[in-house]
């Protein structure tokens, strides 16, 4: 068991670095997530948030540093293995299997993402669809869904893979206030089911309704890490978004 896991963290990033040619996108990023936490990651455009999520989920390999999940060094593991271990994610742009129904999409995730068989996979898929509020449209083809339902399906697919930690990539954009409220309620339900959350989101006022901790990134570095009130009042955070601002 690693030191990080002994400290009770479900996920630990240590010294993460990622370059695209000369462009440094992640620079010595360190943080841990506890199993009972919901952590929001904020930062201006180009801060490195989505790259961080891609490195954590295994879509990208870091140039430096390590990622530990449940005490195991997963830095070199492919995304599919991480998913099987309980590290799930959603994508900013949902890409469901368009010709399959909502249920079939969730079944693919339960079968291949969580490694479940037949009845078990079916039960898991149904539970995920119910949790995402999609039971009524379970038999609709994915390509007939509206924006909100596509986002819900993205969430349902990731839940069907039975995650213990879920990485959410900008699922709050483009929603009405009522829809954002439903999304917040769903994420809060995930927390009650002891799924740890790491949520990247531009829509800060939606994020702070769920997150008990915020991490702010700018130019590939973590510039603030603390309670939402602390982080959003941090002059460095305001500067990162708005420049120096009126005095």
């Amino acid at each position: 068991m690693s030191a990080a896991h002994a400290n009770g963290a479900i996920l630990t990033a240590a010294g993460l670095g990622k370059r695209f040619n000369a462009l440094v996108v992640l620079d010595a990023v360190d943080f841990s997530i506890r199993p009972d936490e919901a952590v929001g990651i904020v930062g201006p455009n180009g801060a490195g948030k989505t790259t961080l999520l891609n490195v954590l989920s295994g879509a990208l390999k870091p140039n430096a540093g390590t990622v530990h999940f449940k005490g195991n060094d997963i830095t070199g593991l492919p995304a599919a293995w991480r998913c099987r271990m309980g590290l799930g994610r959603t994508h900013q742009i949902p890409r469901p299997f368009a010709g399959m129904t909502v249920l079939e999409n969730a079944l693919v995730a339960a079968t291949h993402g969580a490694g479940l068989k037949r009845g078990e996979a079916y039960d898991q898929a149904i539970a995920a669809i119910e949790l995402a509020g999609m039971l009524k449209v379970a038999n609709r083809r994915a390509d007939t869904l509206g924006l909100l339902d596509r986002k819900r399906l993205e969430l349902a697919r990731s839940l069907a893979a039975r995650p213990q930690l879920l990485l959410l990539d900008e699922i709050g954009g483009g929603l009405t206030d009522a829809e954002a409220g439903e999304l917040v309620a769903t994420i809060q339900e995930l927390r009650r089911r002891e799924i740890a959350i790491v949520w990247i989101e531009h829509i800060v006022h939606v994020l702070v309704r769920v997150a008990d901790r915020l991490i702010c990134m700018d130019a590939g570095k973590i510039i603030a890490d603390g309670s939402p009130a602390e982080v959003m009042a941090d002059p460095e955070v305001v500067r990162a978004y708005l420049g120096v601002g009126p005095q």
């Binding site: 509206g146 924006l147 009405t176 531009h202 009042a233 420049g243 120096v244 009126p246």
Partner: protein, 243 residues
């Protein structure tokens, strides 16, 4: 006198409602800055004003004329010019050729090649250069110059600083200083708040497609702007979401 009025404007990107019921007016010669986080709808709003993106509801008025149904070229002829995000020059044409294209609005006025070169002296030695070979700052100057060549009444400037170093941005803004006070009505998207407030007399902050703050630049506090920008409200030290 009102130069530009936007009334209950809506615009979509597919299913995404990017601009939601936006209304504001800019007086003739006024300088309005649009701020807001990534994805707030600023660029779509500017494009909808210019006719480069269809409005799905509401109206755009130039002076008294309702231009909502007009295509972009007709709006340009009526005096709207857009300097788009990312400059969008014709890379294989020279600086001169790009500038001359701006005259296609057919509008009479005081802007000509010489005045553009006086405004942006860095373009003079690059006048015959291919636009694709210019530095970012030179490209931005060419894009603004091209818009000015059409003698617009209303100039829409989208994120001049995008992809430019702070030093280059300073120079672009220095060059624009005279323009800012020349009587041309300006709507500007700018991420840097201090820069925005230095040039604008009105501030409009957008959040998820809506206007959440509209104020004279002189009256707005840093706290008001950050609250509007993030959609947060702070009360007695605690923080809550505005919804």
């Amino acid at each position: 006198m009102t130069a530009l009025a936007v009334e209950h404007l809506d615009a979509h990107h597919g299913q995404l409602h990017a601009v939601r019921d936006v209304s504001f007016t800019v007086r003739s010669g006024g300088r309005l800055v649009l701020i807001g986080a990534n994805g707030a709808g600023k660029t779509t709003l500017l494009r909808a004003i210019a006719g480069a993106h269809p409005a799905s509801g509401g109206r755009v008025l130039l002076g008294d004329a309702d231009v909502t149904a007009l295509p972009a070229n007709r709006r340009a002829a009526l005096g709207v010019a857009l300097v788009p995000e990312g400059r969008r020059l014709f890379a294989d044409m020279t600086v001169e050729e790009n500038l001359l294209l701006g005259r296609m609005t057919g509008r009479k006025g005081t802007w000509n090649v010489e005045r553009v070169l006086e405004t942006f002296p860095n373009l003079r030695p690059r006048f015959k250069a291919r636009a694709g070979d210019l530095s970012g700052g030179e490209q931005q100057a060419t894009a603004i110059g091209r818009a000015l060549m059409g003698n617009p009444d209303v100039l829409l400037l989208d994120e001049l600083s995008l992809g430019l170093s702070p030093l280059v941005v300073d120079r672009v803004y220095e060059s624009l200083d005279a323009l800012m006070h020349s009587g041309t009505t300006i709507v500007l998207v700018e991420q840097d708040l201090s820069r925005a407030l230095a040039v604008a007399d009105m501030v409009v902050c957008m959040l998820e497609g809506r206007v959440v703050l509209e104020s004279p630049a002189a009256d707005v506090s840093r706290e008001q702007v950050t609250e509007a920008y993030f959609g947060l409200r702070r009360e007695s030290g605690a923080m809550e979401a505005v919804s």
